[in-house]
Structures are given as structure tokens and as C-alpha cells.
């Protein structure tokens, strides 16, 4: 953990091992960057913990660059842009809608890394994999897609279920499903599909998997990349993703300049350029430094006890110091959370209604006291905690989140402190992830700080559904997969369907605002802070030209449109 200047840096060791791995002399002569010559290797970190187990996109434990939204190796049909909310062309050049049928056209010349042509048959076969093994994540495709057909070599027609024409969810699928080569995956037995280690993956992307160890995953540029003309030819010859034991080791490495692009949570990142004068930057030089991409939610169990009363929940929402959470728990890397479950920046900002959000709750203990005293009729006990007219004391309520999620732990500590001071006693409980997860699904909790639906083509629809739609949600005691608080409101299903099928964005926004108003009135869940989808800090010691808020050519992340970083950066002259 301590820095010892006498030791060779990690970058050096990695280069040495990469050079040896690449065949000794040749690699050593061309120079892999660092002290001599200009950089040809981009070092990244933060998306892979521990030794890579497999590279199977159909399983659940695939190592980077499979998963994490990365499109270095396997590509998706569309690439979701976190900044604009657009689904940009990747393998596909576009989608044309005609009623409930969306016809996707492939780009010209799409080719697998082994030289085979990538055609619509590969796309159809990929989506048919879900029929061969039910463990595959997108196996539920048939609940809203009736047919996936290939009229010819370059086009694929997706016919939606007329009863549930969910274009948003189809776009999620087209943006996040890796297209796999039919000629290779046909040879894998059905039962093996999710278990297959796939250690020599063949994709269609600009990088091939070169090697992997417990310390790093190395990708080498695929020189014959089909998309070089459309998407640009990547600059780094290699991309090395280093793995670390923990945040502090990784952040120290980044601080020492051994890592060029890092996705680790790095508290007080601004100190690196303000105090230490390092060539380090993030999305923007001022707080919150990162682009928000998800909203950790304090989900409240609305079925039992005083918290079943919407007025008590709303009082609680007024008793949380959001500015303090942003300043301390998020170390300044978030704006104070507003009373809305829609992200005010990036892709969702078109649906964000600032006026409505401002009319919702804010940190105001006096208002919390007014609601409890005047609306509920509660009285403050001798210990400073309110007691309801029927004698029920407000708390102690348990607020849980997994141990080790440091910023989440700190946010709950602040909730506990400010809510208790306002007269609603909250005690934190940090335990094992699976325990929190089980309790949440079964409804055995008072409140849990949890993640709900990141930014995606379907958000904020998917987020609102996951928070308050109680269709198909089992009662307390059985495992639920969304609406953990078992919130019910008569208007929600119709409004959600309206938002999903709205003819224009304005119509969707109106429905979203109505749904957001229900949440503001009843507080079944309280947004506590904004978190980026991926933390994004880069060092300009070896490479420059990363996207920033001033030069937003793609989203600030390594996955999704972040792939464009690789064709835009240039090595620094040493």
C-alpha cells in the first residue's frame, strides 16, 4: 500500500511481460511505450476484478472485454450513446419501423475476425440461442418479440408482439446483445452454451483477445477490422486491462501514471490535479466531475408499519440531507439528488421536468416536522423521536446496504444521522450482498439502498417500472425482481403503457412526469445521489484526446460509445 520509489513500476512490469508474451525481441525493438518512444499500449483498469474465468457472453461470469458494455471484441447491432440517448449504428446501419415490424439493415462488409462474412443469419442465430438454453439472459425475448427473420443477407426483421409492442425493450436488446458467429456457436452443445469457457473468442470488433493472466487481460488490434472505414481504425496496438486487489492499490497505480484510463471509484479525484499537479482529468474539471448514469435509491417497504403511510415516507424524504450526501458520501462526485427518478443530465434529460422536481421534497427538517405533527398528528417523545397517535414510535427503522460499498455505506450513515435528528429513528445495517439481496426480494426490510435500472434506451421507463409497477410482483415472502417495496397505485400501469407507446417524446415526457408526481407524492423510493455508469478518469501522461464535456465526441466510459476513444486518442510525444 505504501509507495516505494525503488521498485519498478507496474507499467514497466506489465510491458515487460507483454513484450515477452509477444515474442521477445521483436516486441522489445518496436518499443511498447513508457520511457522510450511514444506509447503504443493503452493501459486501462476498473472493469475486471480477479482472474478471468471465461469469455462467454452467454454466461454470467465473463471477463472483460465481454460484458461491461464493452464492444472491443464482440459487437452489438447498435451502440447506445449515454450523452444523447441515441442508439447509434454499430454492426447495423439503421432500423426502419413499419407498424410493429422493425427492419434492421447491416453495414456493408461486416466480417468476423477469422475472415468469415458476418450476415443476417448470424444475427438470427444469436437471438435463437435463447431457445436452445434457458439460462441465457435474453431468453425472455419471446414475451415481446414474435419473430426474428432474415429476408436476405443484410436485413433482419423483428416482429413485435402486437399485444405488447415494446419498442423500448427491443432497442435495449439490440443495443446490449453481442452478435455471435453462427459457424462457431452452432458447434457448442445446447447445455454447454452458458458454461463454455470460450478462451479463444472470435468476434467482429476492432480488438482480438491476445492473452490473459490473473494480473491483466491483453487485447491486440485486429488489423483487418471491417469497420475501419465506418468507425475508424483504433490507434493503440494493444489495450491492456490490469486487475487489482482493491480500490486503493488501483488508485495508487493510476496516481503513479501506470494506468491511462481508470473506472475505479476514486474519492477526491480533483486533488490529483489541484494539489498534486498530475496530468489527470475527468469528464469535467468541476464537481461533480462525472456524467451521472444511475440513481442509487432508498427503497422503502410500503407494506407494514409506520412506513406504509405515504405521509411518513414523505416526511422521511424531507429529513435527508442530500447536499451532505453529495459532498461527503460521493466525495463531491454527484450533484445533490433532486426529487425525481429521472436523470437530469445526459440521455434522459429530455424527459426531466425541472419545475416538477423542484416542487417535490428537499432537505427541510421543519417541513418533515410539519407533516408529522399537522398531517399525521404525531407528537415528539422525550427522546426526540416522533410517536404516532396510536402509540407507534417512528423507528428504529433498519436501513441496509451491502458492506464494502463505501459510498453507499456513507450515504446511509448520513440518512441515519439526519433522519434521526429530525425525529425518525433510522439505524444502518451493512451486511453481505446476498443477504441484502434476499431480504430485498422477499420484502423483509424497512429500507434498502439499492441500484435500480441504469441509463439505457428504455430508461427512464424501465427505472420507473422497476420502482412502482406491481403487475406480476409476488407478495411479501416470495422473491420479487422489481418493485421490492410492493408499492401500489391504481394509475401506474396505464401511465407506464402510455409512456411506452407514446407517439412523440413530448407525450412520453408528460406520462413520465405524471409517474414522477406519484413518486413525489407517495415517496415509495427516494433518490439519494447520482452515480456515473462507469467512473471515468484518465491520465494524459501517455495519451491525449480523451472525450471531456468540452469535447464530447462520445460518452465518458470504456464501454458502449467509449470504443470511439480508441480511434481518437493520440500518443504524447515523449
Amino acid at each position: 500500500m505504501t509507495y516505494r520509489p525503488g521498485r519498478p513500476s507496474r507499467r514497466f512490469l506489465l510491458q515487460a511481460s507483454a513484450a515477452v508474451g509477444a515474442g521477445g525481441l521483436l516486441a522489445a525493438c518496436t518499443g511498447t511505450g513508457g520511457a522510450s518512444g511514444t506509447a503504443t499500449v493503452l493501459y486501462t483498469a476498473g472493469l475486471q476484478d480477479g482472474e478471468p474465468a471465461n469469455f462467454n457472453p452467454l454466461g454470467w461470469t465473463a471477463a472483460w472485454p465481454v460484458g461491461n458494455y464493452a464492444v472491443h471484441l464482440y459487437e452489438t447491432l447498435f451502440n447506445f450513446n449515454l450523452l444523447t440517448g441515441e442508439s447509434e449504428p454499430l454492426l447495423a446501419s439503421g432500423i426502419a419501423w413499419e407498424g410493429n415490424t422493425g427492419t434492421v439493415t447491416l453495414q456493408e462488409g461486416t466480417t468476423w475476425q477469422d475472415g468469415t462474412a458476418l450476415t443476417s443469419a448470424d444475427v438470427v442465430a444469436t437471438f435463437a440461442l435463447g431457445d436452445r438454453n434457458e439460462g441465457i439472459a435474453y431468453g425472455d425475448i419471446h414475451t415481446y418479440v414474435d419473430a426474428v427473420e432474415a429476408p436476405d443477407d443484410r436485413t433482419i426483421a423483428f416482429t413485435l408482439n402486437a399485444a405488447r409492442p415494446q419498442r423500448l425493450r427491443l432497442m435495449d436488446l439490440l443495443c446490449f446483445t453481442y452478435i455471435l458467429p453462427k459457424h462457431l456457436w452452432d458447434g457448442v452443445a445446447d447445455a454447454e452454451l452458458t458454461e463454455f469457457a470460450n478462451t479463444e473468442p472470435v468476434g467482429s470488433g476492432p480488438y482480438r483477445l491476445e492473452s490473459y493472466t490473473h494480473q491483466d487481460v491483453t487485447l491486440a488490434r485486429h488489423e483487418d477490422y471491417w469497420g475501419a472505414a465506418v468507425h475508424g481504425k483504433p490507434v493503440p496496438e494493444k489495450v491492456v486491462h490490469a486487475t487489482y486487489e482493491g480500490n486503493d492499490a488501483a488508485n495508487l497505480s493510476f496516481q503513479n501514471g501506470d494506468i491511462d484510463l481508470s473506472a475505479y471509484f476514486l474519492p477526491r479525484v480533483n486533488e490529483l490535479w489541484e494539489d498534486k499537479d498530475l496530468p489527470v482529468k475527468t469528464w469535467e474539471p468541476d464537481a461533480p466531475y462525472h456524467l451521472p448514469g444511475s440513481i442509487p435509491m432508498l427503497i422503502i417497504n410500503t407494506t407494514t408499519g409506520p412506513l406504509a403511510d405515504a405521509r411518513v415516507r414523505r416526511a422521511l424524504a424531507h429529513a435527508i440531507d442530500y447536499a451532505k450526501i453529495a459532498e461527503s458520501a460521493m466525495a463531491g462526485m454527484s450533484d445533490p439528488a433532486q426529487a425525481s427518478v429521472i436523470l437530469p443530465e445526459g440521455a434522459e434529460s429530455v424527459h426531466f421536468n425541472a419545475e416538477a422536481a423542484a416542487a417535490g421534497w428537499s432537505y427541510d427538517p421543519a417541513e418533515a416536522a410539519r407533516i408529522l405533527e399537522e398531517e399525521v398528528g404525531a407528537a415528539k417523545g422525550d427522546d426526540g423521536i416522533y410517536v404516532l397517535p396510536d402509540g407507534t414510535r417512528l423507528g428504529p427503522f433498519k436501513a441496509a446496504t451491502p458492506q464494502g460499498w463505501t459510498d453507499w455505506n456513507a450515504a446511509l450513515d448520513i440518512v441515519a444521522t439526519t433522519a434521526t435528528a429530525a425525529g425518525i429513528e433510522v439505524a444502518t445495517e451493512f451486511s453481505d450482498f446476498s443477504e441484502v439481496n434476499d431480504n430485498l426480494g422477499n420484502g423483509a426490510f424497512d429500507m434498502v439502498l439499492w441500484y435500480v435500472s441504469d441509463v439505457a434506451p428504455s430508461s427512464p421507463w424501465s427505472r420507473i417500472r422497476d420502482l412502482i409497477d406491481d403487475r406480476d410482483v409476488p407478495p411479501v415472502g416470495e422473491m420479487a425482481f422489481w418493485n421490492f417495496g410492493r408499492f401500489h397505485h391504481d394509475d401506474v400501469p396505464a401511465l407506464l403503457d402510455e409512456a411506452a407507446t407514446a407517439a412523440d417524446p413530448a407525450g412520453a415526457t408528460a406520462a413520465y412526469t405524471a409517474l414522477d408526481d406519484i413518486i413525489r407524492a407517495e415517496a415509495p423510493a427516494i433518490p439519494l445521489m447520482y452515480r456515473p455508469l462507469e467512473f471515468y478518469q484518465f491520465s494524459e501522461k501517455n495519451w491525449t484526446g480523451f472525450p471531456t464535456k468540452e469535447d464530447p465526441y462520445c460518452a465518458p466510459m470504456q464501454g458502449m460509445t467509449g470504443i470511439q476513444i480508441l480511434s481518437k486518442i493520440t500518443p504524447v510525444e515523449q
Binding site: L252, P267, R268, E327, A410, I414
Partner: protein, 280 residues
């Protein structure tokens, strides 16, 4: 008084250090105007006029947390020390005095407990228990720390019970418990006191170790919990020395002073270590 004078100077220094820290732990929380969880200032304010020891990642006063932390650590230490010592003396005495099958069984159990690393048992206990209260934690630590005491007590009792005054007591019809309480234990008091001191600082260290790993008492300030958050928020890399140095210094001071007290007592009670006498 004469016995006190016979003690080396380091005893007095160490005892004074420990008592000062203990006094801070007892009086500090009462004197402090704010609670350990109160958000008083900005995150990571360095030590200065506003905050004597600075603030932590949430803007809580490190000084206020420290006095509460000392209190928690001492409470856990005392609880675990008493529990561990009582259990150890009880089991050791029973085994040593009864001998035979009881001895075999109890010492078998003791040896098993000694071979299983206490920290692993503690980890498993902390994960499996629903509650993370300070009291439960103290009892858990006490419940795994008795074996060495039991073994030492057993061997001493086994030799003590051969003494003539014990035989006389037995012949005169005294009950077992009376013999143990009156004829045996008083001879062991010096050892028991030292064992208790060892248990005390062992328990404070065990609490720090568990809390450091994130298994500490929830909702309470303790020295180990302070260290846990100092590491979790990377204050070492960030240079916020006051956050991690404060609990470290105090954990070290408490345990080291207790160790010195114990070893000084040893030089008085243990005839082989007595200084200034040609006893050997």
C-alpha cells in the same frame, strides 16, 4: 503500598498512560457537546482550531469519535476479558481438580479450541449472527479467548491440589467448591489478574481486527471501525493522516501500556523474574 514500591518505574508510567486513556474514554463522551455520528463540518478537515483532531470522510469529528471509540473498545475489552477469564478459570480449575475423565474431556475441548485459530471462529460468528451489538461482540470474543487461560490454570491447580493443606481440608470434610474457592484460588490470584490483563488487551485487538475487516459493531464508534473507514476512504493515499493515525496510535498505546503493566506485575509475582534478589 510496599508491593507498589517494589514495582518497576515502567509499571507506573504504563499504568498512568492506560488510566489517562481510560479516563478519556469514560469522561470524554460525557463532556463532548456532539455525538460521534453528528455531521459537524466538511469532509476531511485537517486538525485545527475547529476540530482538534480534524474530521473524517463524512465530516464527523475524529476527536469525538475517538473518545467514544475508546469507550467502546474498553467496554468490549472488559466484557471479553471477564468472560474469557471466568470461563478459563472455571474450566481449568474443574479439569485440574477433578482430574480423570473430566480432565480428559475438558482439556480435549481446550486443545481443539487452541488449534482452531480464534480469528476464524470470530469471523464466522460475526457473519452468522444477526445482531452486531457491542455486547454480543464482547461475549463472542470472550467465548473464543479462554483456552490458554484454562490450560495454565489447570496445570497450576493440578499441582496445588497435591499440597497438604488441601488434603487436610478434604479430610475435614470440606465440599469441593469450598476447597476450590478457599484453598486453591487465592494461590492463583496473581496469575488470574495477569491473565485478565492479557485477555483485556487481546480482546481490544480482536475488536480492532474484526472491525477493520468491516465486521465491527454497527452504528457505534469504535477504534477498529474508525480504522476501517480510514482505509475504505483511502485516507492513506489521500494523505489524511489524522484519520488513520489517531485510532492506530490509541490502539497501540492501550495495548502496549497493558502489556507493560502485565509484564511488570509478572516480575513481582513470578519468583523467577524477581529483580534485585538473588533468588535464583
Amino acid at each position: 503500598m510496599k508491593a507498589l514500591k517494589a514495582l518497576p518505574a515502567r509499571f507506573h508510567i504504563a499504568a498512568a498512560v492506560f488510566l489517562l486513556i481510560a479516563a478519556a474514554g469514560v469522561a470524554g463522551p460525557l463532556a463532548a457537546t456532539a455525538g460521534p455520528g453528528d455531521l459537524l463540518g466538511g469532509p476531511f478537515v485537517p486538525p485545527g482550531a475547529d476540530f482538534l483532531l480534524g474530521t473524517d470522510h463524512l465530516g464527523r469529528s475524529v476527536g469525538v469519535q475517538l473518545v467514544h471509540g475508546i469507550r467502546t473498545s474498553l467496554y468490549i475489552g472488559l466484557l471479553a476479558g471477564v468472560a474469557g477469564t471466568v470461563l478459563g478459570v472455571l474450566i481449568g480449575t474443574l479439569a485440574g481438580y477433578r482430574g480423570g475423565l473430566a480432565d480428559e474431556i475438558l482439556m480435549g475441548l481446550t486443545n481443539i479450541m487452541i488449534t482452531v485459530p480464534a480469528i476464524i471462529v470470530l469471523l464466522l460468528l460475526s457473519i452468522s449472527l444477526d445482531t452486531r451489538s457491542v455486547t454480543v461482540m464482547g461475549i463472542c470474543i470472550g467465548a473464543v479467548s479462554w483456552p490458554w487461560t484454562a490450560r495454565a490454570v489447570r496445570s497450576q491447580i493440578a499441582s496445588l491440589r497435591q499440597r497438604e493443606h488441601v488434603d487436610i481440608a478434604r479430610l475435614s470434610g470440606s465440599r469441593t467448591w469450598r476447597i476450590i474457592a478457599v484453598e486453591l484460588l487465592p494461590y492463583m490470584m496473581s496469575y488470574i489478574v495477569m491473565a485478565f490483563v492479557i485477555q483485556l488487551y487481546g480482546a481490544i485487538l480482536a475488536e480492532a481486527a474484526l472491525s477493520l475487516l468491516g465486521l465491527g459493531p454497527s452504528g457505534t464508534a469504535s477504534l477498529g471501525v474508525m480504522l476501517h473507514w480510514a482505509i475504505a476512504w483511502e485516507s492513506i493515499r489521500g494523505g489524511q493522516w489524522w484519520v488513520f493515525l489517531t485510532p492506530t496510535v490509541f490502539i497501540t498505546a492501550i495495548t502496549f501500556s497493558l502489556l507493560l503493566v502485565q509484564s511488570s506485575l509478572d516480575t513481582v509475582f513470578n519468583p523467577r523474574l524477581r529483580v534485585g534478589k538473588a533468588a535464583r
